[in-house]
């Protein structure tokens, strides 16, 4: 094992933005006033996340979260918040499907052009597709978000 190996191959998974967001999430707090909340739970590994939503008419106005989990899940939650605020439910569900494809395959060639901008923001998470056991870390906060939108209280990424 070479001591000069600086995990260069891991930089695809742990890009600087992931390390930074995992360490210091911008939106990692509960909302004082909210319309809906749900928990996400990954029972096999113990990661937990809870999201809170504030709606404005049919759009998600603000999202906050608390996460206890790995860098990937915390960073994913943080990036998720920035890409979903201001969008309506149908839009967010479409974005989740696109993100899920990105996380599983590393790309989303058939993604709608309308999603190009948020998908670019989520692109730092594309590296998880090479780590099948870590894909669920990235998708866990989205499962919780969708559960909050649908009014179900709990979600699981298993």
């Amino acid at each position: 094992m070479s001591q000069t190996d600086n995990f260069d191959d891991l930089r695809d998974l742990y890009q600087e933005v992931i390390l930074d967001r995992g360490r210091k999430p911008r939106h990692g707090q509960r909302l004082e006033s909210f319309d809906s909340t749900a928990k996400g739970d990954n029972p096999m590994c113990g990661d937990r996340v809870q999201v809170w939503l504030k709606l404005d008419a049919d759009k998600v106005d603000r999202v906050g979260f608390e996460a206890r989990g790995c860098a990937i899940s915390v960073a994913s939650a943080d990036l998720m918040v920035e890409t979903v605020q201001g969008r309506d439910k149908a839009d967010i569900k479409a974005l989740f499907e696109a993100f899920r494809t990105l996380a599983r395959t590393g790309a989303c060639p058939d993604c709608a052009a309308a999603l190009a901008e948020p998908m670019e923001q989520l692109a730092p998470l594309a590296g998880v597709h090479e780590y099948p056991s870590r894909v669920k870390c990235a998708t866990l906060p989205w499962h919780a978000l969708i559960a909050a939108l649908d009014g179900t209280k709990e979600a699981s990424s298993e």
Partner: protein
Amino acid sequence: MNVMTNPIALDVERIRQDFPILTQLVRGKPLVFLDSAASAQKPRVVIDAMVQAMETQYANVHRGLHWMSECTTEAYEAARDAVAALMNANDRSEIIFTGNSTGSMNLLAHSYGRGVLKPGQAVLISGMEHHSNIVPWQLLRDSHGIELRVAPVTDAGELDMAAYEELLSDGKVGLVAMTHMSNVLGSIVPAERVTAIAHAHGAKVMFDGSQAIVHRKVDVQALDCDFYAWTGHKLYGPTGIGVLWGKRDLLERMPPFMGGGDMISSVTYEQSTWAAVPHKFEAGTPAILEGIGLKAAIDYVQAIGYDAMAAHEASLTDHALSRLAAIEGLRVLGQAQDRGGVISFTLDKAHSHDVATLLDRQGIAVRAGHHCAEPLMRRFNLDSTARASFGVYTTHAEIDALADGLVRVREFFQ
């Protein structure tokens, strides 16, 4: 590192040659397998025994009147003798084959729990159980009116003996069901004292020996416990075969768990009668090949000897604890006086899943998560830990690789 000459030391380089998988490369690097507590690797003799049975000597057991069936029955039943000898059971009929430890404990919860324990009695577990020794008792509690009690674990990760005895003092506990060695902390429970105290208060004792039997000689007569559960795949044997040992008089009082072929004496539509123990508890075609593989694994372990394995493991564990203690921000969970080769830890800068992924990139396999012991994690205010666990084939150099790797993980997440 000083090389100590130890008269009973095992030759780890020689042993490593017995395990074909250890020559595999992972991500282009030599495999450093530190996840034996989840499932151990298999020596060539186990692999060969199972292949040879399939190639030369295989039929169903206990029912054929032909040569192949007789030979297979003999080979399969030889596993029961090997298990009985391994555990120093009084009688080979006290050995029940199950699918795994979980199967053994569910058998006990169903059969002893529903058939012998009475509503209003209690089952006492410890605060460091695997889910497989929690959930079956919760199901029993909810269906059968059994109280479930939990003996706490100290900050050092040991069973709180005073609290344990206090929980037995009202005489309501019918069964103590406890791990013999924690799969998270590595702590070994003082099994003889636990048993003596339970018996003094009228309770029977079952140990979950899934981890302990890999690291320590288990003599059920010396322990004087009443039941002992373990699984083959952690003792270098195949998956799919576990053991429940029980004292014969208790097994005879227990009703069957599953009904079917092999477990009956006679069947009519009005009623059936049961086969004698252990077959009463072994419905259906058993794990024949796995039994044959388990026998090979036991022979292998016995040839090395528990004294040599325990000495090797103690040396590895000491080395690992001292190397890990030197890593800034690393915290080892539990400081039990008596411990086996299982070490859980956290790093201040990185979540255990991230630790595991970065170690994996260096070819080092550890487990990360809650280790099927969520209540224990909560006890220590954690969601997860990384865990390194050792086997007969683990080397000091592999532990150095782990320690060096962790330093680099911490730098990465700085």
